[in-house]
């Protein structure tokens, strides 16, 4: 039996899904989309149930990727039962989706969640009356406490095993509209399509000129992949292939209606209108309002969190806490991982020495694999803690508030308010920043945010930059220089966003119409489970790339053997590239460090240290050694280029995985490189013209 879990965003769908499927979850992406696909297998009453958690959606029209997926799944996969989750505190808009589902799939069970929130805002929903009004079973659940979830599933199984489709009450359309639906039904009733979908739904969609009606799709992939990895396989679900398009009857009728002023848009509006009208008609039967004006929790928190005066300081404090927790407090954990890696490398090298393994293998293990992979692994605690905060903010409802407050600034760049958090996260680490773009609904907005994210300097980059700044610009000048660099990065983010908007073709600008969900306290499971899944999938996706890259970097930097750094392959590459650096006043050493910095930017200082012949590993002394070889203008140019060119390998891999496009990833890399060198050139020559040294 196939059961689909459907509902508006933030209704507690994933809580129910997590409780029901437990650890038997498969998390991946929907084919060709960067929307999470979660499915699980449950055994109940001698039945094997494939349960799928469809992305949260407000309707079954095609607006966002999430809505398209939900709609396509119900349409093409034809689940046996739909478990529709409804938020009791916001029942009107939630029922709009339920009415749309009921027209398409009659086997529906409603799970009424968030009754406590409804009660606290002075509403009472009478479950029995609701069930009667719609003629659909309704189960009360408290998802956060795990109450009613088993009953919800039992009822779904019962509905699924009924021999005949139940008859939910139809939405009565106004006379003029109902006539047109009937006329269309008459034309379609003998069509083979009418046996596949409910006739009324087919007629409505035909009147709306829905392009999907008449299209035959072939599923071309395994249904459930029986992967050995029970937690988080890539789970690329079913992908579809268009077989043929049949034109359904009724074209003439549609043209007649259009001549009467009933266009496609008009029909859509009329059907939506009638559904809302119907909901407000039946609403008094099952909802009573007591004490309406009482301010809720959400009202009281929002009075502060969204206030024009306090909103921004509060947001700064929240973001500050997230940053501190993810990137400062996690440092000992990261340090422990690096030490652990170094220690295990040592142990393995000893074993190899004992086994008389050749020198180059020892070096490969210690300096190549363990050093390279360890450098990335050291960031895993940061990323994991960041994701935990991210889930917490998203589930509690604060993320939407941050988008509300940040939207004004994003609007300047032609971006969506939800891009704000992704960009701010970039200051911590660009990898989670790029992954945080998933909250954006529009794929184009998502792509643009992803491509400009690397221009924001992350914590490791800021660390290197401040060491160099401190060496070249001591005292208060240092902070002015640092500030100017950050301002430059902001400015370029803004300009690039506007530029990308021209490059990335977008048919229609997405609207900023965003729900501000009621605040609620997320369950521990809902925070920790996605954190684990996201961290695991990041590691799983990245480790092969990182391993290969570590080996390549090791090879380039240690061969030919026994020569000084500038004579190795990587050193030679830096030398060859010095013609690019020359117009910027860079010598070959800077170019070598830029080449090496590609793997991970925090290694730049130690590379420079070796090249400038400073043995000590202290960042200050390396920077001091550089002051002898470079003028402050050279250093400033270096800082500009360093800040802007590709952040690191992990961010490139993440961009590729999140965009799903090699083309856009290469475009992003090329854009960063070209932009950084152009800016460096402008700074160097501008500085010279202005008489700086």
């Amino acid at each position: 039996m196939k059961i689909a879990l459907v509902g508006n965003p933030n209704v507690g769908k994933s809580t129910v899904f997590n409780v029901l499927t437990g650890s038997n979850q498969q998390v991946g992406n929907w084919a060709g989309k960067t929307v999470e696909r979660k499915s699980g297998i449950i055994q109940r009453a001698n039945q094997t149930i494939e349960m799928i958690d469809l992305p949260g959606t407000y309707s079954l029209t095609a607006y966002s990727q999430e809505e398209i997926i939900t709609r396509e799944y119900i349409l093409r996969e034809n689940p046996d039962v739909v478990m529709a989750m409804v938020d009791a505190s916001n029942i009107e808009r939630n029922l709009y989706l339920v009415l749309q589902i009921l027209e398409l799939a009659p086997r529906v069970v409603i799970g009424l969640n968030m009754m406590d929130l409804a009660v606290s805002s002075g509403l009472t929903i009478h479950t029995a009356e609701l069930a009667l009004a719609l003629n659909v079973p309704v189960i009360e659940i408290v998802a956060a406490k795990g109450k009613g979830i088993e009953e919800f599933l039992d009822e779904a199984i019962r509905v699924g095993t009924l021999s005949q489709d139940p008859l939910p009450r139809k939405v009565p359309y106004p006379q003029a509209l109902e006539q047109k639906v009937r006329a269309m039904e008459g034309l379609l009733s003998k069509n083979p399509w009418a046996t596949r979908y409910p006739l009324r739904w087919l007629a409505i969609k035909r009147l709306e000129r829905d392009p999907e009606i008449g299209q035959d799709w072939k599923a071309s992939a395994p249904g459930i992949s029986q992967s050995k990895d029970s937690c988080c396989d890539t789970g690329y679900g079913v992908s579809y292939e268009l077989l043929k398009t049949t034109s359904l009857p009724g074209e003439e009728l549609l043209e007649t209606y259009e001549a009467e002023g009933w266009s496609k848009d008009h029909f859509e509006m009329a059907f939506a209108d009638a559904k809302y009208q119907y909901i407000s008609e039946i609403l008094p039967k099952f909802r009573t309002t007591i004490n309406p004006g009482k301010p809720t929790w959400t009202d009281s928190i929002d009075a502060w969190a969204l206030s024009p005066i306090w909103g921004y300081p509060i947001m700064m404090a929240v973001l500050g806490l997230v940053f501190w927790g993810s990137f400062v407090a996690s440092a000992p954990l990261g340090g422990a991982i690096s030490q652990g890696m170094a220690w295990s490398a040592e142990v393995i090298v000893r074993l190899l020495q004992w086994g008389q393994a050749p020198e180059f293998i020892q070096s490969l293990i210690r300096d190549g694999i363990f050093a390279g992979v360890g450098a990335v692994l050291a960031f895993v605690p940061q990323i994991a803690i960041f994701f935990a905060f991210f889930s917490l903010m998203q589930d509690s409802g604060y993320l939407a508030r941050a988008a509300f407050l940040g939207d004004r600034f994003m609007q300047l760049m032609g971006l969506h308010g939800k891009s704000f958090f992704s960009l701010v996260s970039g200051f911590g680490c660009n990898v989670p920043g790029i992954m945080a773009t998933r909250t954006l609904e529009d794929p184009k907005d998502r792509l643009i945010t992803m491509l400009i994210n690397p221009l924001i300097p992350c914590v490791p980059r800021l660390g290197v930059m401040s060491a160099v700044v401190a060496a070249f610009f001591p005292g208060s000048r240092g902070s002015v220089v640092m500030l100017s660099l950050l301002m430059l990065s902001m400015f370029l983010v803004m300009v690039s966003a506007l530029f990308m908007r021209r490059v990335v073709k977008q048919t229609e600008r997405s609207a900023f119409v965003m729900e501000l969900p009621l605040y609620h306290i997320p369950t521990l499971r809902n925070v920790l489970l996605p954190t684990w899944q996201k961290t695991y999938s990041f590691l799983k996706r990245a480790w092969t790339f990182i391993l290969v890259a570590s080996i390549v970097v090791w090879f380039l930097s240690s061969y030919p053997q026994g020569v000084p750094m500038q004579a190795t392959w990587a050193g030679k590459m830096g030398g060859w590239l010095s013609f690019i650096g020359a117009p910027l006043g860079f010598d070959w050493r800077i170019m070598v460090s830029i080449v090496f910095g590609f793997a991970a930017k925090e290694t730049t200082l130690s590379t420079l240290g070796i090249l400038y012949g400073v043995a000590a590993n202290a960042s200050q002394s390396i920077a001091q050694a550089m002051t002898g070889a470079m003028t402050p203008l050279n250093a400033y140019t270096f800082l500009v280029v360093y800040m802007l060119y590709i952040p690191c390998l992990a961010s490139v891999v993440t961009t590729y995985k999140e965009s799903g496009s090699l083309g856009w990833t290469s475009f992003g890399v090329a854009y960063n490189l070209i932009l950084s060198f152009i800016m460096g050139w402008i700074v160097f020559h501008g500085g010279q013209a202005l008489g700086f040294q």
Partner: protein, 88 residues
């Protein structure tokens, strides 16, 4: 009196008369429950010309001023209050 939603002060209520324009934005608004006849309350306007927080049907929505300028509203008159309007 007909106005645009974007012109409402915070704390003011109004009733949706019609949505100008079409396409995805209009469909999105429809999905979120903004249809003619619905009562809206502007809760607050974000500073510096930022989005508006609007309450309808018991939930909160953030909308940019540009989008709000597409929604024509009328004052809530008695005739409309008598109808079983769902929004509070």
């Amino acid at each position: 009196m007909e106005r645009l939603l974007g012109d409402l002060k915070s704390g003011e209520c109004a009733c949706v008369k019609c949505i100008q324009g079409g396409g995805a934005i209009r469909r999105r608004m429809m999905d979120m429950g903004i249809v003619p006849g619905v009562e809206l309350e502007v809760i607050r306007r974000a500073p510096f010309g930022g989005p508006l927080q609007v309450r309808l049907k018991g939930y909160y929505l953030a909308m940019r001023r540009g989008e709000c300028a597409k929604i024509a509203v009328t004052d809530i008159n008695e005739e409309l209050i008598e109808q079983p309007l769902a929004s509070r």
